[in-house]
Subunit: 392 residues, 2 copies
């Protein structure tokens, strides 16, 4: 008998971003004086907002005094944060959630990786191609077959509907890596499909704070019938620069049932058994994101990155390249003049000192594309544009 | 086809500690003026040590400046913390680990719950009975059969060796809930067993900071041959009051192989795919635990809880009760005069206003016992002892 989980052998050798980090490290060692610009991994660069910093300091001080110290919190997150999320994130869009439909976590990567545990290993799973690799890898590790739904320039990067019924459907909008957002009409088509086939939609809205177009939905629950079929994931990482603090949340509505059973108490049970909540100061920091000053400061951060995205988009276009995304998202999806995005990664690193992410890492239909992120420093982003323009 | 993970139905209705929290909440609502003493869930009550608080504030300030801000860290934890763990935790016991054998996490509950993912659902698992429910529940959720190894006063709470070969063996020493520690000789027996049968030992040493007897091993790697068969888990929760900060680590030695394959890169792959590291300020806080002033302050905290344990132990003994644990651990394991520990929970709550944990919640061989924790306030602990003594 094999004692190991043999599904691990279905994964490619390394998690994409770890592999790229090693490539860059090797290059850096070989060229210690190279002036590298990192527009690869989608990590923020602006410091935390002053209101967030103040909330962290206050919470740390509370942890220093016996009368205000907090030990274990609720696995699902403190009520103050779940209330702030409802009021700050959902109420403005006319969405009313119950407090116990919101589950605070240490980030959407964990939630997206773990939530599939609620389902049978024999479930049929569909994910967009290209997309964030965690959806695929976590399902492969659990032994599931994964159906890829091509998202190409021909279909405006709205993944095709599955041609055979599926049980789970992962969507990400605005999408990582294509930087494009689903319209209300496109999203409604997936919802209609899900309601017809009893499919559960896992909706990753990590980048919804970057939407500019007021017509585009910020939450899937703005659409009719979503509560019966969709789980929504949202992270503070890109919305408020929390990549180094670790906080996000998942919404599992009571109305969502599979085989007649509600998923909400199952996720609660899973989290109570294998998770112990998020650091108290971090939850206070997340709460501060929705405060009056927090909102203003965070809006300025988002605007900063949006302007970087504009510079990248217009710079690449001016240099004659075909480029997508960057208007409703912090990602640029660059159609390469070559079919080999890994070779292009090496070339861009070597010729321009610019680090991006080869599209093939996000799925077979990402081949021939390249992802750049808008999370860099303004001047470095400008410098990257001018180096790329000179690449010829 | 069932689309849900049907193994969830093998779990009891609720995670033990959540269920007890609800019982207490219901009692509190019905008796709003009751003066309750909480010695149930093993949560610390002393505030964080000053050196830890200072490290948190410094790290938060770093997050406020562009030149020192940190976004995503390594999934495995920052090198500074892994180095501090090696120097502070292992070097003093003559154990030399490679930096990449240590994996920082947001707590041992997560690690212990997640690590079983590396193994086949058909693996045979043995766990002590009674023990921390996470070992059992996480394996039931994955569809494995779990063999219980009775740990009773007759065998000095050292779980019996499995009578049929097992692939995974969970041990916890000092044990939660019995408060007893495995001797070097007992631990060596498990190691010999594991080496003979190719068993992997999952060794939870969450409470090793509470050991007083210098002869008892603090780490399983102090024993010969452990690296080839054992994974060790350690948490800052009880060692340094981090229950509200969330930090721990797992050690997966390179020498540990299953079916000829090293587990270390598999755990790295799992963590890279489904986890995104621990908040930077929390990692700095954990590092500070091993600083010169940190050690002194933490030692004083441990001594405070150890003294509570002594008061509980001697107080219960003086009241004529049979009690175990409390000398090498922050838990007291009270042999009840009744076989029904759930009924005793209600009685103790109602008559004394003291909240403990019914032994049956930790496994069938926990029935007839009751767990009290030493993590309370000194005066409240004294008060609990005198109320229990008056119970008669």
């Amino acid at each position: 008998m094999n004692r190991l989980n043999e599904n691990f052998s279905r994964l490619e050798g390394d998690y994409l971003f770890s592999e790229i980090a090693r490539k860059v490290e090797a290059y850096r060692r070989a060229h210690p004086r190279a002036d590298l610009i990192r527009l690869g991994i989608g990590d923020v660069t602006l410091p935390l907002a002053p209101t967030v910093i103040a909330a962290l300091h206050r919470a740390v001080d509370e942890m220093a005094r016996p009368e205000t110290f907090r030990g274990y919190g609720p696995e699902q997150g403190y009520a103050f944060l779940r209330e702030a999320i409802q009021q700050g994130e959902y109420a403005p869009r006319g969405v009313q959630l119950e407090p116990d439909e919101i589950f605070v976590s240490d980030g959407s990567k964990c939630d997206l990786g773990n939530l599939q545990e609620l389902f049978s290993p024999r479930c049929r799973v569909a994910i967009a191609d290209p997309v964030y690799p965690v959806y695929r890898d976590s399902n492969l590790m659990a032994g599931r077959e994964v159906l890829l739904l091509p998202a190409t320039r021909e279909n405006h990067f709205a993944p095709e509907l599955p041609t055979t019924p599926v049980d789970l459907l992962y969507l990400c909008s605005p999408n990582n890596p294509t930087g494009t957002a689903l319209t209300r009409e496109a999203l409604q088509r997936y919802l209609d499909y899900a309601r017809e086939h009893g499919t559960v939609i896992l909706y990753d809205s990590a980048y919804s704070s970057y939407l500019r177009d007021p017509e585009l939905p910020r939450s899937i629950y703005e659409l009719d019938g979503a509560r019966e079929v969709a789980i929504e994931f949202k992270s503070f990482s890109k919305a408020a620069g929390f990549t180094g603090l670790r906080c996000g949340f998942a919404v599992v509505p009571h109305a969502l049932k599979v085989d007649g059973q509600s998923l909400n108490p199952r996720w609660f049970r899973r989290q109570c058994t294998k998770f112990n909540g998020v650091a108290y100061p971090v939850q206070r920091a997340a709460e501060a994101v929705y405060s009056e000053t927090g909102r203003i400061e965070i809006a300025a951060q988002i605007a900063y990155y949006q302007e970087n995205a504009r510079l990248l988009r217009e710079g690449l276009q001016a240099a004659g390249y075909e480029v997508y995304g960057g208007e409703q998202a912090p990602y640029l999806w660059w159609k390469l003049p070559t079919a080999d995005s890994l070779a292009f990664f090496d070339r861009l690193l070597d010729k321009c000192g610019v680090i991006g992410t080869p599209g093939v890492g996000f799925g077979p239909h990402g081949e021939g594309y390249f992802r750049l992120t808008a999370f860099g420093d303004r001047e470095r982003t400008r410098e990257a544009v001018s180096r790329i323009a000179a690449l010829g």
